[in-house]
Amino acid sequence: MMLTGGQIVCESLIKEGVDVIFGIPGGAILPLYQDLPDYPQLHHILMRHEQGAAHAADGYARATGKVGVAFATSGPGATNLITGIATAHMDSVPTVFITGQVARAAIGKDAFQETDVTGITLPITKHNYLVMNASEIAGTIKEAFYLASTGRPGPVLVDIPKDVFVEKAEFEYPETVNLPNYDVPQGADPEQVQEAVQLIKEAQKPLILAGHGVIISRAYDELMELAEKAQIPVITTLLGISSFPETHPLSVGMPGMHGMAYASLAINEADLLLALGMRFDDRITGKLSAFAPNAKVIHVEIDPSEVHKNVRATVPLIGDLKKVLQQLVPAVEPKSHEEWVQRIEELRVEHPLMRPKVTGELRPQYVIQALSQATKGNAVIVTGVGQHQMWAAQHYTFTKQNSWITSGGLGAMGFEVPAALGAQVGRPDAVVWSVAGDGGFQMTMSELATMVENNIPVKFAIFNNRYLGMVRQWQDIFYEKSYVATHYTGNPDFVKLADAFGIFGSRVTKEEEVLPAIKAAMKYPGPALIDFVVAQEENVYPMIPAGGTIDQLMEEPIEGHA
């Protein structure tokens, strides 16, 4: 069947099971857009900024496990995607970006809205393509989805010149991909599995570090079985949150820079780390030479380049986490580590997460705890980066699988608005809360219009401290309170802003107003926003300085305690 390049793109996306596309049209991609009405299965959501389209595709992918798709035009359309592509790359999110390019004859001539987008995105994509013939579109899209969703997932970009969308070619969707040397690890080496079993058997103080890989490979049950069978306490990394229920007696919480002190202290005492689908980010390890000084390391990873990159593994297990755990769990002997579990409990009592403080101001930690209570831990929480993110990670009690979506590796402010939009589109029946900073919210709040247009009922909790809070905190701690360029003195009235966008808005300044406001927002059928006017100079504790060691752990100062 002879089709235009644009039609081939649409047919191929349908073959890949795509049902929603986030995007913005423009000159170079227009021929593709003009084909969209013929494919009603492909629901297009018109965003307000391409960064929003990229983050929305990312949020959709994280919430569903399916590949998220975004369209953008050439030049500025494509460059606006960059922050979103980089976010998906750092956090291994399966996404496919299709960008229009100037016509073939104009490439390299500095044409209007021409940008070398394959060049620009080369270091932030798993792979990318410039498709120079309509006959190559179907095979390329097949490969793009395959690469994005297999192995360690990631973003793939397909750049298509305007005239290629118009060119006709025979459409036949390939059944297989031609990637002879692209290896998708399955199970691990059985010999190495045996070595891991032996290490687990010998360990007195083992810890599981559950990362994003647990969620990506849907290895929740296997993780639970392993933890319970060998009685190993479970630490969840920032992106591993919601891979293991925090109400479980073996749940220890998040480690690292702003993790629970007891989790970081437990790592320091552990004699074995089972690192499951995580990459020893510097926010977890701090100074590498002082990290987990007594521990052997079993590193289960699908990406061999992560093994020995930061932390030397005693036993590496290369493979898909779910499959590796299916090898490992039956071979592991049942054990108990009563003393060790008891020791962690002691650490938890000695180093509580939040010491109650009476200040008369609305404390952000309280708001998160109230949100956790009001949603019974059942909401999907989406955050950007900064203080609000850390408080949400610390104080929300996550009990549902895959209910936490955050910009981890890249740490992109503004992620929380469009990613929540995408998550809600992917999980229409879920309650999705965007926990936002007032800074990040203002970077991408234009997408409120997209939510209104498409009736996407995301609820926003803006943590409004009139500061770039985490930066201010660093200035407080490391620069003697020299608050350079972090204070917002002209924030908009967010409630009026909500009104202007036609969504529900309310403002909360006191603790007793928190729960009723959350309930009212949830009752409202559409998007809703709460402006939580929180304590301005609240810091996130505990804190281990960047590149620091456990000895530099700072807990909340004692002064002013009730």
């Binding site: 394959t118 060049g119 080369l122 270091p123 798993k126 792979h127 410039l130 690469l147 990637l179 002879p180 040397n181 692209y182 690890p185 691990a188 080496d189 010999e191 190495q192 990406d303 061999p304 380049s305 093994v307 020995h308 990159k309 593994a313 590496p316 290369i318």
Partner: protein, 177 residues
């Protein structure tokens, strides 16, 4: 953390931008590349690349793994000193006149190099060998005045017997052949 030179040979798909993908990866990972040689391989559609990188074992391990991650890179093989046959080619333009041409010719013959171009005031010498040989000839010729030099960088292969022995190995460990 002692740095040393390591040789890595990769088979890559002959596609537009593949060199860019590889050099971009080296740059962003802060890998120190000493030389890079690339050309057609025995397989149609595939090129073979030889890298010489400078770094400790952990860095070399990362170079190999990061290369393997690139979709257009088919195979990556580290080559150990003991099993390696390596060569480099250099063209060296050296000042020469009637009085010293014979002396230069004698040096070139000792090195089994060739004079490939003769002009009234210069010669072009072509030399093939390992880097030490090329370097040594270069040093000798420099007394006459080298006005131009171009070197290909190292190309390398594993000796016949060693190749067979290198097939086994666990998935994450990048043992040199």
């Amino acid at each position: 953390m002692a740095g040393h030179e390591s040789t890595i040979v990769a088979m890559v798909r002959d596609r537009p931008g593949v060199l860019n993908r590889i050099s971009s990866m080296f740059r962003r990972r802060n890998f120190n590349i000493v030389s890079l040689a690339v050309g057609q391989s025995e397989q149609p559609g595939m090129s073979r690349m030889a890298f010489v990188v400078n770094g400790d074992d952990a860095m070399v391990d990362q170079v190999i793994k990061q290369l393997r991650k690139l979709i257009d890179v088919a195979t990556v093989s580290p080559i150990s000193e003991e099993t390696m046959i390596s060569r480099e080619l250099a063209l060296i333009r050296v000042n020469a006149n009637a009085s010293n041409r014979a002396e230069i010719t004698q040096i070139v013959e000792i090195y089994r190099a060739h004079i490939v171009d003769v002009a009234p005031d210069s010669l072009i010498v072509e030399v093939t060998g390992d880097e030490d040989k090329v370097q040594s000839l270069k040093n000798l010729l420099s007394t006459f005045g080298i006005t131009e030099m171009i070197r290909t960088g190292r190309v390398a292969m594993v000796r016949g017997m060693a190749q067979v022995a290198s097939q086994n190995g666990r998935t994450d460990i990048t043992q040199p052949a």
